[in-house]
């Protein structure tokens, strides 16, 4: 486990280096002055500029510049947004949790729906229910997420009036910002309308989370179906069957456990996919998360925000990636000896 941890740590550091390098080089690739792209201070006076050049060591060689940039990042200074002129780190701290919350709920929905369906399909391999589930998976995988979001709003918010269409909570409720994760903040708040707020927030998250969850759920269907078919073909299952265990015991005691381990490996990669879907969905459901902010920043050409938003988002995705690797390794000792990172 120690070498495994060290390997992952090395990979993590390597990735962070690549990501910061990427975001550092974005400042050069974007139009405009590099130091202004770094700092976002578009209204800087000549003296401000001199100070910034000093701080980012722009007169030194490229390595010194990079290390100066890195230092700023480590100190939590992402510069300020060119559009709103407020510190980007504040905006990220405010927006990233909303995205995390939404994507985690969506991930849970995707897993809770996708994995059992995949198992059912595998158990009924090549039967009607298998084909039905696979066809559903195909459609779900192919449907453009923004279109699905629109249809969902039209049906559930406007047609039936069941669920709200935008935002993460009705604006009437005032929830103080503590962690940024809405549900936790509501529970921590002392508002007299706590439970109404909680219900309201739940109603708000259902629609976007389900829309995001559809495509990953279909992938979980395929993954769990494949894993289950593989497990059911193994010799230990045959042995169990030969011992006279009934179907229920075989599936619940042996097959599911082993199949699940295979699936957990893929959660990390699926999560990255899911966050991207969340970015688009946030636009449609006006969810105040980092995806919507990033897309707005692009249309406003707010380069400092794009650069830092990308860094924060990909760090987050990568951290989840590594964490799932750890969970997988903890559950499956065989994986720890694996030589390469993938």
């Amino acid at each position: 486990m120690l070498t495994f941890t060290l390997r992952r740590l090395a990979l993590f550091l390597f990735t962070m280096m690549v990501l910061t390098l990427l975001s550092f080089s974005l400042s050069f690739l974007f139009p405009g002055d590099t130091v202004i792209n770094h700092s976002g201070q578009i209204n800087a006076t000549a003296t401000d500029l001199a100070k910034l050049n000093e701080a980012y060591q722009m007169d030194k060689n490229i390595f010194r510049q990079y290390s100066a940039y890195l230092q700023h990042i480590i100190n939590g200074d992402f510069g300020q947004s060119m559009a709103s002129q407020s510190p980007i780190s504040n905006e990220i701290i405010e927006l990233l949790p909303a995205t995390i919350e939404l994507s985690l709920v969506a991930l849970l929905i995707a897993m809770l729906v996708g994995i059992p369906l995949g198992f059912i399909a595998a158990i009924n391999h090549n039967k009607t229910s298998d084909n039905a589930i696979l066809s559903f998976a195909m459609i779900g995988y192919s449907i453009p997420v923004f279109w699905l979001g629109l249809l969902a709003i039209l049906l559930f918010s406007i047609g039936l009036g069941w669920l709200p269409s935008s935002g993460k909570i009705s604006l009437l409720f005032e929830i103080e910002f503590v962690t940024g994760i809405q549900f936790i903040d509501i529970l921590l708040s002392d508002s007299p309308y706590k439970w109404q707020a909680f219900n309201n927030a739940s109603a708000h998250i259902i629609l976007p989370a389900c829309v995001i969850a559809l495509a990953p759920a279909t992938i979980f269907i395929r993954l769990s179906r494949a894993a289950m078919i593989e497990v059911l073909a193994t010799s230990y299952i045959r042995a169990a069957r030969a011992k006279g265990l009934n179907f229920r015991q075989i599936i619940f005691r042996h097959a599911i456990r082993n199949a699940l381990i295979q699936i957990i490996r893929h959660v990390g990669l699926q999560f990255a996919n899911l966050v991207t879907l969340a970015m688009v969905t946030e636009v449609i459901f006006s969810w105040p998360g980092i995806g919507r902010w990033l897309i707005e920043s692009i249309s406003q050409r707010d380069y400092t925000a794009i650069q830092s938003g990308l860094l924060a988002l990909s760090c987050f995705i990568f951290i989840v990636h590594i964490l799932t690797d750890f969970i997988y390794a903890a559950l499956n000792p065989l994986a720890r000896g694996n030589n390469h990172g993938s």
Partner: protein, 297 residues
């Protein structure tokens, strides 16, 4: 393959033809394949067969519903949009933009990816490990996110979107080629031709590629369905095709404003995207299914 038959020998179809034999027998996959061919034809011939211009407005025919609606007009089969442009023509032209471009993008990145991937498969040591990790990092960033960032650098527009998506897909092809080539290189038949004195390039070209081409195709269909969705999504977000262009995602975004009065301006492009992606996925699914059957046989 014009080879003279000297010996009375049973002819083995090439791996690719074997695959096609199996593929042909799967009805669903063939349906997908026909749709795919249909879309490609449409993409090529859209300017010839579409009844109207996709960008010129006709102010007498604003927001006309599709023909089956009581208020519809048969000469505008799928209705018109807020400037009186024929939806059918726009969707046809959109096929060349969304579907056609995604096809070109995938072919382009496939070629580049295979070249880099096979070269890198032959390297070892630190360079290889570095590349491995680098690819891991790139592949852990979702394609759409990466495309969005590249568009942010290049600026919005359909041309830049195409470049962005092409760049984004190259790493996956590098990765899969590299992996497949390495795997093949460990096999005995490669060793055999190596013992015959074949150069690396010769082995790659004559021995390895015919054996991995279906895997690449299967990856290509996955990439294309993603490319269609990415081009459409970028168009929808206003980062891809710009306003008058009839790109499906952009048509949909354009229709949003009239969603409640003219829902067909949103339903139709959405259905078109869905249709194209399903067709592509059916083909890919067919290839994977055939691959699996061939392995088993």
């Amino acid at each position: 393959m014009a080879r003279e038959k000297i010996y009375q020998e049973e002819v083995f179809p090439s791996p690719f033809m074997q695959l096609w034999g199996i593929f042909r027998k799967t009805p669903v996959a063939m349906v997908g394949f026909c749709c795919f061919i249909f879309l490609i034809t449409l993409a090529i011939f859209a300017p010839i067969i579409s009844p109207y211009s996709p960008v010129e407005s006709n102010l007498e025919m604003i927001l006309l519903p599709p023909a089956w609606h009581p208020d519809g007009n048969v000469s505008y089969l799928l209705g018109t949009d807020e400037l009186g442009r024929d939806m059918l023509s726009r969707l046809m032209y959109g096929t060349s933009l969304t579907f056609g471009l995604s096809f070109i993008v995938v072919v382009f990145s496939l070629v580049i990816g295979v070249v880099i991937g096979s070269l890198s498969a032959l390297t070892r040591g630190f360079k290889s490990s570095f590349l491995n990790h680098f690819l891991d990092v790139i592949l852990s960033i979702p394609s759409l996110l990466l495309a969005i960032i590249i568009v942010a650098i290049l600026g919005p527009g359909i041309g830049n979107t195409v470049w962005a998506i092409a760049i984004v897909f190259i790493p996956q092809f590098i990765h899969i080629t590299r992996y497949a080539v390495k795997e093949e290189f460990r096999k005995d038949y490669v060793l055999a031709s190596r013992l015959d004195g074949a150069s690396n390039f010769r082995i790659l070209y004559y021995s390895v590629f015919p054996n991995i081409v279906e895997r690449l195709m299967s990856q290509a269909t996955l990439a294309q369905s993603a490319a269609i969705l990415d081009i459409a999504t970028l168009g929808f977000l206003g980062l891809g095709a710009q306003i008058p262009l009839p790109e499906w995602g952009a048509i949909l975004a354009n229709g949003l404003e009239h969603f409640y009065i003219a829902p067909w301006t949103v339903y139709l492009p959405g259905l078109a995207i869905l249709f194209a992606v399903v067709a592509t996925n059916l083909v890919g699914e067919g290839i994977r299914h055939a691959l699996k059957l061939r392995k088993e046989s």
